[in-house]
């Protein structure tokens, strides 16, 4: 419909760098809620990773240096519940964030932001929360399980196993955070700018 040449020349795809910039800026300026979300991921992941670390000492003792998830039934249930709690809390916190930024999102749309950009903003935020929370969670778990490993199992895990567990922990943390944010992000992207600016007069 519109002049194709003009459209192509002025492609409105926001670069990943700018997306990250917008996300970080927003996170820096709303530190309180973000820290709470990170704390939440970190608690959940710390629990799950510490159980992974402890349980993998069995596999290590039987001379397999590949990390194998080897949780007993009880540990599995605790992990599932803590992950579920984590998802629900982040979901809730993301919805609050959308409500907080309702008008702001409306303004951004008036200024030409596309739906997909709004969605990406929230998912990027979730990604960063997941990564930071997961990393801290794993680190805490690794430190706190050291004495237990040493005293109870009389062993220390090799570095390669820690790396494997870190990888799985990050994967869990990011998945938790993103899964919990899909619906809020979609909801935010569908906000009608006229509704958002309704309370003008």
């Amino acid at each position: 419909m519109m002049n194709e040449q003009v459209m192509k020349h002025q492609l409105m795809k926001v670069s990943t760098k700018d997306l990250l910039y917008l996300t970080i800026q927003n996170m820096r300026k709303r530190r309180g809620r973000i820290l709470l979300s990170i704390f939440n991921v970190f608690l959940g992941v710390a629990l799950v990773s510490s159980m992974m670390i402890l349980s993998s000492s069995y596999t290590y003792k039987s001379n397999i240096s590949l990390f194998v998830v080897n949780l007993n039934e009880y540990q599995l249930w605790v992990s599932i519940i803590s992950i579920a709690v984590c998802v629900i809390t982040i979901f809730n916190s993301m919805l609050i964030s959308v409500a907080e930024r309702y008008k702001e999102i409306g303004v951004m749309k008036c200024l030409g932001a596309r739906n997909i950009l709004i969605m990406k903003l929230f998912l990027f935020e979730a990604l960063v929360i997941g990564m930071i929370g997961g990393f801290i969670g794993f680190t805490i778990a690794a430190i706190f399980t050291l004495p237990i490993l040493a005293i109870q199992y009389e062993t220390i895990l090799p570095f390669i196993m820690y790396l494997q567990i870190l990888f799985v922990s990050l994967l869990i943390a990011i998945t938790i955070s993103i899964v919990a944010s899909v619906y809020p992000a979609r909801y935010a992207s569908k906000i009608n700018p006229t509704d958002a600016l309704r309370y003008e007069v």
Binding site: M2, M12, V14, C110, R114, T194, E200, V201
Partner: protein, 237 residues
Amino acid sequence: MSFEYSVETLNLTKYYQLGDTIVKAVENVSIQIHKGEYLSLMGPSGSGKTTLFKLIGGLDKPTRGQVFIENIDISKLDAYELAWLRCRKIGYIFQTFNLIPILTAIENVSLPMIFANVPKQERIKRARELLEKVGLLERVNHKPLELSGGQQQRVAIARALANNPSIILADEPTGNLDLNTGLNITHLLKKINRDNNVTIFCATHDYKILEVSDRIVWIRDGKIEKVETRNYIRKNK
């Protein structure tokens, strides 16, 4: 690209359903706005000014009628093209400024340029230039809450100009400002209108704005009451 009018509406109509009653917010409005014209929209509160702006900016769909922006029928545009239009062609100015509270003045002005994928260096340079143009160079790093109403509206004007739009829709830009500040903003808009050859469509119920307008459209209960040219107003003062 050649076009006849910057903005043209044809029998533009918007009804809202409120329970059992139908509110006729805008009815059969047909206006033509020339490139570079300063057009004022005068009407009391509730006369349909904001609704008309939403329709022209493609933020809402009309019940009936059409909007053409530079000869393009905006009802034919998809979501991407509409976003493009809002980003590149139209600059919005609101009565309540609507700056993003967590961002500084220069970040607010840069925002539409991020949406348009302007490189960072260029963005910062242009945002500074625009803030200088509206007389706020020494306030670039202030947040909206650290600025007065008039200053906030200046930032909003700079933001509206970010992507060099050809049309500015200003919905009661002086409505929340005191008389003198409002007058300054009005003159700033006029200066931008002259310097950049931007079409300005400005809703108001402030009579002071009349002297800078090329034409005035009077609206009442969603319908156009009369259209006056500047010469006519001068003669009858």
